[in-house]
Symmetry: C2
Subunit: 479 residues, 2 copies
């Protein structure tokens, strides 16, 4: 697999991405159009993402549950805005146990309606609030144009659904989860993201407010990497989710929802990857360090292997996720390419001279070739490896941030705007009118990604129409 070269990232980003996903064995196409098989290496990455998020969810009082896959079709009609947003995307079960069903069932596209069914049974009084439930599952949406990880009929995600007694609590939850996504993206995935508020037209159907984190991919396009919605009382009213307050009065709950999906794997690929393949941030990498033993003769093998095993054992003891590549019959060069394709952050080479000198050669994936290569004593290696992994993590983040900054512009007029959104973000004033937003999209393919949080209110004029504007918005072409 590894002598194979990827298409150049700069020349054909889309094809580079598709082939990387397959060659790195992250995922494969399923027999059903638009579905994917997440292969063990890709799933191990997702498991690390899950753990990093789940730890944060639980530390903030959330619990997991499992709502069912099958939903009566009639449920979807209860929330009109929901139906409009989703019904063309349904997969419908009409036959069960060999018989035509009286009422068709749909495979969930999300768990809103089933949760809308359950919460009124579980929430009676203010004592039952807040209800802070998350679910890890897969959902189905009948997408027409698909791409592995980025848009598939079935995808994997977590969907949090919470209910609160007050607007303030719901808004605080919505923002807390956005903060958690931001912290996760930065600290674990080394991806700089812009947390912000969505425009009305980009908002989730049925939400009072949608927040998202937006990341810049290697081609300058934006990817929405996680969303958090304040649903106000819209959802509670549609499903009669009510509670008795402490004065005995019946009140509607305030609800939120938030989600992050296997799309995020697409973001990791497109932010950090290079022409040699995947580049994984050490904190999420299934394999952080690969050890490649190097020997030319059978005589050299035993001492090299012994030393490689010793180094491997020391790193395992230091909680490093290490793999000793002891495959027979493959050249070191083949192995180097293979692990570079899979994005392993650090490679250790041990040869006969290293056995004698008590050294190893270290190669950093974020800096391939001679520049990223160094030699180190075996003594005290675990500490050095751990520091080097931190260094790789930091350098990936800095590089991605520098790339984003270089490709984020503050155009002075609409002509400049059109140019910059061809391969980057434009931070520009916008009047806030849906019409103007629509025309910008039509003329430039760029959409409003988000209104970055923490801006002070300013006086400006809309980049397109020149009308008064209060806030700057990130515009970009998006995945």
């Amino acid at each position: 697999m590894s002598e194979y070269k990827l298409p150049s990232r700069s020349e054909d980003f889309a094809e580079w991405y598709n082939q990387l996903v397959l060659r790195a064995e992250l995922a494969d196409y399923a027999p059903v159009r638009g579905c994917m098989i997440v292969r063990p290496y890709g799933w191990a990455l997702w498991e690390n993402i899950q753990q990093a998020l789940d730890r944060r969810f639980k530390a903030t009082g959330h619990v997991n549950a499992a709502f069912p896959l099958l939903i009566p079709q009639s449920f979807l009609e209860r929330e009109q805005s929901h139906v409009e947003g989703f019904s063309p995307e349904l997969a419908v079960v009409t036959v069960g146990g060999g018989k035509k069903l009286e009422e068709p069932l749909v495979n969930r596209q999300n768990s809103y309606t089933i949760i809308g069914h359950a919460y009124p049974k579980w929430i009676k009084s203010y004592r039952d609030l807040p209800m802070l439930i998350n679910q890890w599952n897969s959902v189905l949406r009948w997408e027409l144009r698909t791409k592995l990880f980025l848009r598939t009929l079935e995808f994997f995600w977590q969907e949090g659904h919470t209910a609160h007694a007050t607007y303030e609590e719901a808004e605080a939850e919505t923002r807390q989860m956005l903060d958690i996504y931001t912290d996760f993206a930065v600290a674990e995935a080394a991806i700089p993201v812009i947390p912000g508020r969505k425009s009305e037209s980009e908002r989730f159907a049925g939400a009072d407010q949608t927040y998202s984190i937006e990341a810049m991919m290697g081609d300058g396009k934006a990817l929405q990497a996680g969303t958090s919605h304040n649903l106000g009382r819209n959802f509670a009213k549609a499903f009669e989710i009510r509670y008795l307050d402490n004065t005995g009065e019946l009140q509607y709950c305030w609800t939120t929802s938030w989600g992050l999906s296997t799309r995020f794997i697409g973001a990791i690929i497109m932010v950090h990857g290079d022409d040699k393949g995947l580049v994984l941030p050490p904190r999420l990498a299934p394999i952080q360090v690969v050890i490649v033993p190097i020997f030319k003769t059978d005589d050299e093998k035993p001492s090299v292997m012994e030393r490689a095993q010793k180094v491997s054992a020391e790193l395992i003891a230091a909680n490093v996720r290490v793999k000793l590549d002891d495959r027979d019959g493959l050249t070191p060069g083949f192995k180097f390419n293979d692990w570079e394709m899979r994005g392993v952050p650090l490679r250790i080479e041990i040869g006969p001279k290293d056995v004698v000198n008590g050294t190893v050669a270290l190669s950093r994936r974020d800096n391939p070739g001679k520049e990223g290569k160094s030699f180190a004593p075996q003594e005290g290696l675990a500490k050095l490896i751990s520091e080097t992994l931190d260094g790789v993590q930091e350098s990936l983040y800095k590089r991605a941030l520098a790339f984003r900054e270089k490709n984020t512009h503050a155009p002075q007029n609409y002509e400049q705007f059109k140019e910059v959104v061809e391969g980057g973000f434009a931070l520009a004033y916008w009047c806030g009118r849906r019409e103007c937003e629509g025309q910008i999209k039509e003329e430039t393919k760029a959409t409003t990604r988000c209104v970055p949080l923490g801006q002070e209110s300013q006086d400006g004029s809309c980049i397109r129409c020149g009308q008064a504007a209060k806030e700057k918005v990130i515009f970009a072409r998006a995945y």
Copy 2:
């Protein structure tokens, strides 16, 4: 919820079970017939089961992946024995994205066929073997009679699917996974199980050999708690899963599969539960220790709460899963019942006298009432709690084992056999003929559960027909 009394376990086991599942908030009925919602407390239990198994799977070289939910209906026709076993149970998707599909898709009842599609693409040579993949997912089977956790249309499980170069390796894998299930059941769930071989008629469709672990429930019936199948080359031949051996010849693989599901939660309930509700083994319990602060006046509250928080913090630091029940407006008695219903292994009570004396009261869930109650100094409490939890774990196992032994009989003739299988296991010689097995089932409702492993070959005569028999078999009525 907690002033409510369950039906007596001894008088109405089935209804006791149903109500316990709902009252302990393990699961709830979903709107679609036969589906369930696993509530947060039940899911936390399942997460602990998953972790205990997943650790064991990974330690033996297995990796996880995610195969898709949707499977082309035509795939099911490739393995005839498979179709016969499963097709009446299908949920079929006939409409996608608003259009009738050209080929119907089924929601997976398992991942055999999709894996049969993937493995030939991934396995080329002996270097690619063994392929050791597991998946945690949910599957759908259109069951007619359902019961929460024990038999639902959708259930949660893991399905392992492995491919090997030789029969010996496949058989070793099959047995290894059976051993892992046995170890898990005994060490984590405190459930004694009998590992054994299934009779031909109880075997999985398409398997050369099926092994299972069988547990005795509180009503003397058997529950198959995990299965491991040696599929020979049957599955590989149906799906053309082949590899080039080291002489360059194309060979069929030998495959295995093994699974354990949310049924296991049903086993935990039915083995350990009592009239007060659930009783959880400490190693799997989402909450191992609950602290109930006790005070009568507002004056007493601050010092009691302060001490309760201090004890809670010490236990958290010692990695005990502890919950401080600081709910206002509920009596201690209500809280006791509530946590007993949920099966929390240990309760700590702290009152004003305990604050003064530096003591706590301890109550063991496995021994409710005065007998299981003791007093302990707060000094060094974490160590005592940890030992006591080990004690509860051990006593639950011993009690379940004693119950099984008491209700396992070696009937001397068929009349005795009929009696004992009404409420227990019969260990008896069987001739091995399918016909005889069928008649026993018809006459007694007892089926062959398994041929316990490790028997020496003996000479006996079949409990029903008197013909020569070589092995003793466990017969029981089963869930």
